[in-house]
Structures are given as structure tokens and as C-alpha cells.
């Protein structure tokens, strides 16, 4: 189920009224099946652009992306995407109906859809809000629904763009823990974007550290810390220091 990802020298240039903006320059990396990759970097360094290329929403202006050896297209079914923005949920659907969307597109029966939706709403601790519309939920709750939605149709690759950035620290810790568990259980390939060093060290098998203007990959750091990880352990703190050094040097 899990797929491998390989990016070969990908670049992306936005054409704006003020002229071309090179958002990503010649980035190369690879993600093994069921690997957890974190892309770490300051605001504006091209993280979202990379994610959009992986998702097939943007076509690289240079280089190529292969998933399991095949070029990425815009109509790829085997990936789940969670965006940075709260507004990604369909406002005309309840939380449950949002989570069911991907299953509905695949023609899964109503009962099976319900059961799966219930299970994933429970996973993000929102089963009580199954019948609420998105506008009745807080930003963090909407984001959790979006995660449940991306997981529910069981894609091989999960692409997440700072999904927990807007959550309070306690909920975020809890969500990170749950995400790790879900990942270990479902063995998906995950590309996870963040600007938070501790988050990256907690989650990742591999961290790509990016630098802005133009967005380039500055370092590729493998992490061998055993799981579950303890953010207070000496190893964890040392790893954080090492990543931070790469980010700021």
C-alpha cells in the first residue's frame, strides 16, 4: 500500500505580475515506503510548493517526481492531503460527511462509509461532533476533521502541510502521538511539513532542512531515535540541537 517517492532536481517558479519567483530550486530527495519524512524550514522557503508538487497540484517547472517509479499526475488517487488552511473542509457537509467524501467517491456502501467515518472521528476524538457543520467547530477541530478525512480512505501516501500549527500545545502533543500510532499501524508513507524543530524530531525518520530565497534543501538528516520518543530525554534534546544548528548556521 505505502509508496516510495523520489524527487529528482525539482524546481518551481511562480509567474507573478511582478515577475517570476523561484520558490523551489533543484531539490532532490527520496522517501522509502512507509517512511516518515519531515520538511522543516522557515516561512516562505517553499515547503507548501513542494507539497503541492508531490500532490500533483503543481507541475514542477524543472525535474521530475516519481511515486513507485511512476510520474505524478493531478489525478492520483492514492494520496491523502491535509492543507495548512482551515477552509479545506466542505462547509455544506457535516464532519461525518466530510470524512466520508473519499469513500463516497470510491463508491463504498453507506454502512461501510459510516463505520469508517465513525472510527476515524473517534481517532481524532471528535465522534461527538459527527453531525456538526465545519463552521460550528473551532479551527483546531476542523483541522482534526481534515486529518480524519485524509486517513479515512486509506491512501498510501499522506501529505500534510503544517496540520497542527494552529492547535494549542496540549492538543498538538496528543495529535502528534496519535499520528505516530496511526502511522505505525497503517504503514503509510508520510510527508509532513513543519517549521517546528521539536515536532520534526518527534515525528520524523528523515528531516529535510530547507533554506529560503530560493527554496533549497540545505541538509538531509536521518533520525534513528527509538520510538516512542521522549521529548525530555537527553538524546532527543541533543538531536534537536543538531537540527537547529543546520537550520540557523
Amino acid at each position: 500500500m505505502a509508496q516510495s517517492i523520489e524527487a529528482r532536481n525539482i524546481s518551481f517558479q511562480y509567474d507573478t505580475a511582478a515577475g517570476p519567483v523561484l520558490a523551489v530550486k533543484e531539490a532532490s530527495f527520496s522517501v522509502a515506503p512507509a517512511e516518515f519524512l519531515c520538511v522543516l524550514g522557515p516561512s516562505g522557503c517553499g515547503k507548501t510548493t513542494i507539497l503541492n508538487m508531490l500532490a500533483g497540484f503543481l507541475t514542477p517547472t524543472g525535474g521530475e517526481i516519481l511515486m513507485d517509479g511512476n510520474p505524478v499526475t493531478a489525478r492520483e488517487h492514492n494520496r491523502g492531503v491535509v492543507f495548512q488552511d482551515f477552509a479545506q473542509l466542505f462547509p455544506w457537509r457535516t464532519a461525518r460527511q466530510n470524512v466520508e467524501f473519499g469513500l463516497e467517491m470510491r463508491g463504498v456502501s453507506r454502512e461501510a462509509r459510516r463505520e469508517t467515518a465513525r472510527q476515524f472521528l473517534k481517532l481524532v476524538k471528535l465522534e461527538k461532533f459527527a453531525d456538526a457543520y465545519p463552521h460550528q467547530l473551532s479551527g483546531g477541530m476542523q483541522q482534526r476533521i481534515a486529518i480524519a478525512r485524509a486517513l479515512a480512505y486509506n491512501p498510501g501516501v499522506l501529505l500534510m502541510d503544517e496540520p497542527f500549527a494552529a492547535l494549542d500545545a496540549m492538543t498538538r502533543d496528543e495529535m502528534q502521538k496519535q499520528l505516530t500510532e496511526v502511522w505505525q499501524e497503517t504503514r503509510k508513507t508520510i510527508v509532513y511539513i513543519t517549521h517546528n524543530v521539536a515536532e520534526a524530531v518527534y515525528l520524523a525518520d528523515q528531516i529535510l532542512v530547507m533554506a529560503p530565497h530560493p527554496g533549497t534543501i540545505r541538509a538531509r538528516i536521518p533520525l534513528a531515535l527509538p520510538r516512542p520518543r521522549d521529548p525530555l530525554s537527553a538524546n532527543f534534546v541533543e538531536m534537536q540541537r543538531q537540527v537547529l544548528a543546520n537550520l540557523t548556521h
Partner: protein
Amino acid sequence: MTSAFLSRSFWRGIAGLLLLALLWELFARSGLFTQALTPPITRIANTVWRTVLDGSILENAAYTLTRVLAGLLLACLVGLPIGILMGRFRAVERFFLPLVSVLMPIPSLAWVPLFILWFGIGEVTTLLVVGYAATFPVIYNSWTGVRAVNPLWVRSALAMGAGQRQLFRSVVLPGASPYVFTGIRLAFGRGWIAVIGGEMLANPAAGLGRAIFDAREYLDSEVMLASIFAIGVVGIAFERLVFQSIESRTVARWGMVAAAGARR
């Protein structure tokens, strides 16, 4: 939407109407015009009551409302596909936009003499007058609505495996619905205005516009005012009963527009 709020806004509305009635009454009794031309409220109310009892005002209102709804249906049949396709496809937009921009500002009543030449006096011309007035808000708003669909919704749906048809049905249409709905609502208002003129100029059969026009021959200002009153009442009743209840059940419930009065 507490009932306390409802009743407060309700009474404010009533107060506004009472003020208007008072001003009319002062004007009517001021002696500026003879009361045959400016009848006081009581006489208008009497006429309303009499025409309700003999059924004539209801019949006229039913004719007028039916014509508006038929015109609105025509406007939707023509306007929704054009507007939605304009929003979806550049080529369609390029083709229709100049056409729409040129035709939209022309008042539908300006067409009445031509329509009469082509289709004669009667229902066809009336329908076209209403349809013309109502089509452009539908086109314009559905076009805007489709373009206003959040790209994140489209991307999410594509990532979840939606095909083009599913994307259209499950994302574009509901995503555009607040605008489309507003368009239909505006179209009803436009059509309601146009139908009166259409009836006066081009429809010898019943209708509130016709009633006003015919009453002119007998200098019957009471029937005129009673009919004008009916035009207002039926218009607002339809707006309240139909459009507001659709709105509160759909786009307002989804948080895509604020419910009427919710901002206070």
C-alpha cells in the same frame, strides 16, 4: 435566532410601516389633492378587503405571481447553464461575457414594443419581459459563484479521487450555491418589477399591473393603491416564506452566508 430577537425586529418593522401609514394619512387628509385622488388608509383598506372578498385581487395576484415564476424558471433554464459554463470554461466565458455585458444594462421594458411586434400582445411577451429581466442576475451570479469556489475544496476532492463529474456535482455546485442562490433571489426581485410593466403594456388579461392600468380609466385611485399594496405584500411574502426558508435550511446552515439579522 431567539424569539425575543425575532419579535424585536418584527416590532421595529411594524413601527416603520406605521410611520409610513401615518405620513400617507396626513398627506391624504391635508387637502392638497381631493380625496378621490389620495384616499385615506381606511378607504384603501376597505378596497383591499372588498377585492379580497370578491376574489379579484387574489386572482390578479395569482396571475402575476405565476408569470414571475414562469419567467424565473425560464431565466434559470437559460441562465444557470450559461453562467456555470462561463465559470468553468474560459472559451465559454470569452464568448458570452461581451454579450452579457451589452445586454444586461438594457431594461427589459425597453424590449416590450419589439416583443409586441414579434410575438403580439399576451403571455409570450410578458414571459419574455420577465425572463429577460431575471436571466442576467442568474448568469452573473452563477458565473461569479463558480469562480469563487475555493481551490482547496477542488484540490481536496481531486486528491480523494473525485472524477470531473463528481467534482462538479459534489464540490462546484454546492460551493457556488450561495452565489447562485443570491442570483435567483435577485432575479425574482427583478422579475417582480418587470412583470408589472409587462402587464401594463402587453397583457390585456388579468394581473396586478393590469388592474392598476385599467383602474386609471375610472380614476379609481383606491384600486390602484390597493393593487400596489398587494404587489408589495405578495413580493415580500414570497421572499420571506420561500427564499428565507431555503436560505436558512441551506447556505446559512452551512455557515456560508450569515443568516438574516445574525450580525446584530
